[in-house]
């Protein structure tokens, strides 16, 4: 057996030329906000998707991320394991993150060790999620729709009640492994917390449909259809914008004067013969659009309330 370079593959070359080797002082080489741009782009070009995930969207980093990355640069290759900790499963994974108006899957490396489960993004380095295994109380695998394809997600509930939603390519393997390491019975039923604002006490949803709402004109924008959910409760009718889960239309039921589905000629963006749900209330009207069946169901649900008021305070105004 003679050592040779003939057998080396792309990974060998990449590893050495991009991760190793001398790097000059940053003030002498081209850099953006102090981070030397050494072949990161090449790494992505050659290694493809997997590496793109690993390194994140390099091009899109903002200044502060880069600065932070510079500080962390020296330790960037270190796996975030503590002494005596062994990685049992290491795989690409993502966690559902919902903060403020941004809800997204955050990708990284999911590590299952003998005492922790965590999601680590190498570059810029960040611990996206971390939990000690003894904090896990329940776990559940659930089939979900992801861009029209069905896939599985793993839900974990911790002793503090918090729920995490994780996706990896082999959910079952991860589930089995967690069960195995935790070594105690874990309940497999988790009540998935709604990402919606909880309703006040005494208020119940009667009907909810995914419908478009004709959003009133604002500054230079004319009226626009926006996707979201129209919710009818025993107290009010409101519509929530899908993008940021914000209520953009809300009217107490006692202010609603009528609701009916009909073709509405002067509505932009849809055909003249398309039907819309027209909700009239004190001070205006709101238009909703969607599948005719949904519109009709919502219409009859609203009308039903008028016929049989659930809350005595509703005063019908006709």
């Amino acid at each position: 057996m003679e050592p040779s370079r003939l057998e080396c593959d792309i990974n060998d070359v990449l590893d050495k030329l991009l991760n190793k080797g001398l790097v000059l002082n940053a003030d002498l080489i081209i850099s953006v906000a102090g981070v030397p741009l050494l072949g990161v782009n090449l790494r992505a070009a050659i290694a493809g998707m997997e590496t793109m995930l690993e390194y994140g969207m390099m091009e899109a980093w903002d200044k502060s991320t880069r600065e932070w990355y510079t500080k962390e640069f020296a330790g960037r290759m270190a796996a975030p394991l503590v002494m005596g900790e062994e990685a049992i499963i290491r795989t690409f994974g993502s966690i559902w993150s919902s903060q403020g108006i941004i809800s997204t899957w955050k990708p990284g490396f999911l590590y299952l060790t003998n005492n922790r489960l965590f999601l680590w993004r190498k570059e810029p380095p960040e611990m996206l999620f971390e939990v000690s295994l003894d904090k896990i109380e329940r776990l559940m695998v659930k089939k979900e729709n992801h861009f029209k394809k069905e896939r599985e997600a793993l839900y974990l509930q911790f002793d503090c009640g918090e729920v995490a939603r994780i996706h990896v390519s082999n959910v079952t393997e991860l589930e089995q492994a967690i069960k195995m390491i935790v070594g105690k019975e874990l309940e497999n039923r988790i009540v998935i917390p709604s990402e919606r604002t909880p309703l006040p006490k005494g208020e119940e949803i009667i009907r909810e449909e995914k419908l478009w709402y004709l959003f009133p004109a604002q500054s230079i924008l004319g009226e626009t259809w926006r996707p979201g959910r129209l919710c009818l409760t025993n107290k009010r009718l409101f519509w929530v914008y899908r993008v940021d889960n914000q209520k953009m239309f809300e009217v107490p039921l006692d202010k609603v004067t009528s609701a009916n589905v009909k073709a509405h000629v002067l509505v932009p963006g849809i055909k003249a013969e398309d039907k819309v749900l027209n909700v009239a209330y004190d001070g205006g009207r709101a238009l909703f659009y969607g599948k005719v069946e949904k519109l009709c169901e919502m219409e009859s649900a609203i009308q039903e309330i008028f016929l049989k008021p659930l809350v005595p305070s509703i005063v019908r105004k006709t």
């Binding site: 057996m1 003679e2 050592p3 040779s4 370079r5 057998e7 080396c8 593959d9 792309i10 990974n11 060998d12 070359v13 990449l14 590893d15 050495k16 030329l17 991009l18 991760n19 190793k20 080797g21 001398l22 790097v23 000059l24 002082n25 940053a26 003030d27 002498l28 080489i29 081209i30 953006v32 030397p36 741009l37 050494l38 072949g39 782009n41 090449l42 070009a45 050659i46 493809g48 640069f73 020296a74 290759m77 796996a79 062994e86 049992i88 290491r90 069960k179 195995m180 390491i181 070594g183």
Partner: protein
């Protein structure tokens, strides 16, 4: 960045242990003309360019650049013996004089590093265990066999068995890896542990990497290392991947590199 696009720069391949002033012709990245910029008994191997990032989406092109970078370093190694290889993409903002000034300013640091690398080459050793061998060894373990008899159909016990199997697996790997590491360390001047999660090519798919080493080895000891690894390769269940000689990429990062950069601030 756009304002800097036309600034003069020098792309640096490596720093050689020789003050000879020469050129390598149009051998560089994108056919650039490669020259040496000597300072005392030391020189930077560079090509003249603009301060502009080498950037492409094209995989073939990216690979070509990387291999060219590697090729120039190989040429310099052949010509000058000992070199400090740079990572791909180091572009110095400035002219020849700026590079020389930098070399001069870091002379003693670079010289020490060059002396450390003198007469040595980098080799990479990856040791694999065949998955089947690992499985068999664990199954043959007495404790595991007893456990298996005991638990039969109890689910809790099954989890415990799996846990034990996992422990044995890690213990087996650790035991072999530690022993081999110590054996290799005796032959290499410097041996560095690399991550074992590196992706291996298809040939190694059914195997488990238990050790991944970068070794800086004196040329006269390479034969000894080869003999040792041949012996390991013959052991049942073992396989060794042995590549090199490489420029000493893995043994230069600490000087003038990331640590140096922090000092400069």
């Amino acid at each position: 960045m756009s304002t800097k696009n036309t600034r003069e720069g020098r792309y640096v391949y490596c720093i050689a242990n020789s003050g000879k002033e020469t050129d390598f012709g149009h051998m560089g990245v994108e056919n650039s003309f490669v020259v040496t910029l000597p300072v005392k008994d030391m020189g930077a191997i560079v090509h003249r360019c603009e301060v502009k990032l080498y950037k492409t989406e094209d995989k073939e092109k990216a690979l070509e650049w990387l291999l060219t970078h590697q090729y120039v370093i190989d040429l310099a190694t052949k010509e000058f013996g000992t070199v400090i290889p740079l990572a791909f993409g180091n572009i110095f903002a400035g002219d020849d004089e700026a590079v020389k000034k930098w070399l001069d300013g870091h002379y003693s640091q670079l010289k020490t590093l060059l002396e450390r690398l003198e007469g040595k080459e980098q080799y990479e050793v990856q040791v694999f265990l065949e998955n089947e061998f690992v499985r068999k060894t664990i199954e043959e373990n007495e404790e595991i066999q007893n456990l298996r008899k005991e638990i039969e159909n109890k689910t809790k016990g099954a989890a415990y068995l799996l846990k034990k199997q996992q422990e044995k697996r890690l213990a087996l790997i650790e035991c072999h890896a530690t022993r081999l590491y110590n054996e290799v360390r005796e032959l290499g001047d410097e041996v560095r542990l690399e991550l074992t999660d590196k992706k291996a090519s298809e040939k190694w798919q059914d195997k488990l990497m238990i050790l991944n080493l970068s070794c800086l080895v004196r040329k006269d000891r390479v034969q000894k290392l080869t003999t040792l690894l041949e012996e390991v390769n013959r052991r049942e269940g073992f396989a060794v991947r042995f590549t090199g000689p490489w420029p000493p990429y893995s043994f230069v990062a600490g000087i003038g590199g990331s640590k140096g950069r922090q000092d400069v601030k």
